[in-house]
């Protein structure tokens, strides 16, 4: 667990966020804050509105109601904040070379071509993919592609790092590598939003968490506070307690 920030400046603020898709309300009335320099766990069962909230936060969705701010203002690509975003929907330009794709995204994030190439090479060396730099993306395994996408996410040394289920599809070795990388960025002062279903990752990385159910918050606070609220149960037990009935009803439906 990392050290809690002493000065609690707000990095992300979400207030009365509501999101409708047609007649369906995905997020009802969601409000929370994320402090600068903390790792914030964004938890909930599938379809509870986590990804929708992140997409709305990043301006990819226009919210039906409420306010979503990063650094005190709505996010746009012209915002000065250095963002690293690893979306849940993974993908890269499959027919291009790994190094070309990484350099392209680095340039889009405001890096010079030279810097982007240098950072890409450093990352590829770290994750043992140096020999794949000039390989087409679609020739890589799924795990290797995920590593490349992670490299793109962090190559600009982001102030705000949003990782939507980053360990999905990773083997234990790569999962550990990813968590090491997250910790490194937190030590550098980055604010990290971490979406996951893996409670051991939450235990290891997160300062504070929020649990969403049916588009509303049902638990919010530090990991210790949330545990205390549920009688010091483990996060796994809390998760099962909150979402167990949902899964049962889903099973009944199926």
């Amino acid at each position: 667990m990392s050290i809690k920030p002493t000065k609690r400046k707000t990095a992300v603020s979400i207030s009365h966020f509501r999101m409708d898709f047609g007649k369906k309300t995905v997020v009802k009335d969601l409000s929370f804050e994320i402090y600068k320099g903390e790792v914030f766990g964004f938890l909930g069962s599938n379809g509870c509105g986590k990804t929708t909230t992140i997409r709305a936060l990043l301006g990819l969705y226009q919210p039906t109601g409420g306010e979503l701010l990063i650094g005190g203002e709505p996010f746009s690509v012209s915002s000065k904040i250095k963002l690293g975003y690893l979306p849940e929907e993974r993908g890269l330009y499959k027919k291009e070379l790994v190094i070309d794709v990484m350099v392209y995204f680095g340039q889009l994030k405001g890096m010079s071509k030279l810097d982007a190439r240098k950072q890409a090479e450093i990352f590829l060396e770290r994750v043992n993919l140096t020999d794949k730099a000039k390989t087409r993306v679609d020739k890589l395994s799924g795990g290797q592609q995920q590593k490349v996408q992670l490299g793109i996410t962090i190559m600009n040394d982001p102030e705000l790092l949003i990782l939507d289920e980053p360990t999905k599809g990773f083997d234990p070795v790569n999962r550990r590598l990813l968590m090491d990388i997250v910790e490194e960025h937190q030590k550098k002062g980055a604010t990290i939003i971490f979406v996951t279903h893996q409670m051991e990752e939450v235990e290891r990385l997160c300062d504070r968490i929020i649990l969403l159910k049916d588009g509303v918050s049902c638990a919010y606070g530090s990991v210790a506070e949330v545990k205390q609220k549920y009688g010091n149960a483990s996060l796994d037990d809390i998760f099962i307690k909150i979402y167990g009935d949902e899964n049962e009803s889903n099973e009944e439906i199926s």
């Binding site: 409708d20 990819l60 963002l83 929907e89 993974r90």
Partner: protein, 405 residues
């Protein structure tokens, strides 16, 4: 438009480095080159064969009942006069004589009878050539020069046509403004599909979210469009260069006409109108393709919509003669001013010179407004549609909720 250059470079370089791009680019001039080569060698072979045939000596007997054949000429051809038609035919049948020509009395009705030894489908024509040469060379010099020229089909025709009191050469006038029509056709035919694939690619590759958090959708699309235009320039250059080389160095061998480009009329107004129609037509078409790419979940599904757009755009070509012959008909008016069908009729009518200034302005205005609307909607659709990875975008939801922004 921050990062426009980055998008342009990436899109341009990744396409130009692909083998498939060069295969497509070079296939067209190579095929054209091959066709010309075949024509050239075919002409050469035919010419050589004709020369060989002409030089071949073969035995001929001639009966001239028409009285038109020059006797001296018969000697030059080593032809013998025959007075017994049947005997000469028998000689041919028995292989003792190669050919026998019978010029009957009243040639205009009865014609010339040729009896000859078979020497193959193509070489058999030599007999008719000689029979024809005998009579032409005998008769034409006996008529005076002008009639002879008419008989030889060598009379020249010099036409001067006028419009509004000024010289007007319809064909030459068509060339400069017509270039825009040709360019539009080439661009759409060669790049329509690439444009569609380009806009669906991010969606199919699930790369959109990362992109749209680093770059404006509008910048991405403009960068793609500019790169496609640059690629089109590369392709067109690749096509034109061999054609120019062929024209400059092999014009005679390929029997190409001698084009005098120095006196092509340049009408700035019509060229300006053509350029405006071309530009807005291209933007309209681009907007439509981007919109289709954003709405459809895959390039394959987008192809269906693309077909419909192509029918609208190029369908009017089937009524091309109508645009030239009846420019004031209601159908031509409708096709000229309905945004989806307008590009071809407007460009064609401008090229042939029957598009008035008022009609031009109305047409350009319609295309300009349509292209701005199409591109604006396309960017919005791309912005929101690309997150509907495997679903077709619900336009109802989009217009009700998202476009309110």
């Amino acid at each position: 438009m921050y990062n426009l250059g980055t998008v342009f470079n990436f899109e341009f370089m990744r396409t130009i480095k692909k083998k498939s791009f060069w295969i497509m680019t070079l296939a067209f001039p190579i095929i054209i080159g091959l066709v010309f080569a075949i024509i050239f060698f075919s002409n050469q072979t035919t010419s050589n064969a004709a020369e060989n045939t002409k030089n071949q000596k073969f035995s001929i007997e001639v009966t001239d009942e028409s009285g038109l054949i020059n006797k001296e000429l018969l000697k030059q051809f080593d032809a013998q006069e025959s007075v017994n038609k049947q005997a000469s035919i028998d000689k041919v049948k028995n292989g003792k004589l190669d050919a026998y020509f019978y010029y009957s009395k009243g040639l205009d009705k009865k014609g010339v009878e040729i009896y000859a030894k078979d020497v193959g489908l193509f070489d058999n024509s030599r007999y008719q050539g000689v029979a024809d040469a005998l009579i032409q060379t005998s008769v034409i010099p006996t008529v005076n020069g002008e009639t002879g020229a008419i008989l030889r089909n060598t009379v020249k025709f010099n036409s001067t046509t006028y419009r509004d009191g000024k010289k007007f050469d319809g064909i030459k006038e068509l060339i400069a403004p017509g270039i825009f029509l040709v360019l539009f056709y080439i661009l759409i035919a060669m790049f329509g599909n690439q444009m569609l694939t380009s806009t669906t690619e991010e969606k199919e590759n699930r790369v959109t979210e990362m992109l749209l958090t680093t770059i404006e959708a509008r910048t991405l699309i403009v960068g793609k469009i500019l790169s496609l235009i640059a690629l089109a320039f590369v392709q067109i250059t690749s096509i034109i260069v061999p054609v120019v080389i062929a024209y400059v160095f092999f014009r005679t061998q390929l029997a190409l006409p001698n084009l005098d480009l120095s006196n092509i009329p340049i009408n700035p107004l019509r060229i300006g109108i053509g350029a405006s129609i071309f530009t807005f037509s291209f933007l309209l078409f681009t907007g439509l393709l981007v919109a289709i790419g954003a709405v459809a979940p895959t390039a394959k599904e987008a192809g269906g919509f693309f077909g419909v757009i192509m029918i609208f755009i190029f369908g009017p070509l089937y009524a091309a003669s109508l645009f030239i012959s009846a420019p004031n008909s209601p159908l031509v008016g409708f096709l000229s001013f309905f945004p989806l069908t307008a590009p071809i009729p407007l460009m064609l009518r401008n090229a042939v010179g029957n598009l008035g200034v008022a009609d031009s302005l109305v047409g350009i205005l319609i295309l300009a407004i349509s292209s701005v609307i199409a591109l604006t909607i396309a960017v919005r659709l791309f912005r929101y549609g690309v997150l509907e990875y495997s679903n077709r975008l619900s336009l109802g939801v989009l217009f009700k909720k998202q476009l309110k922004k």
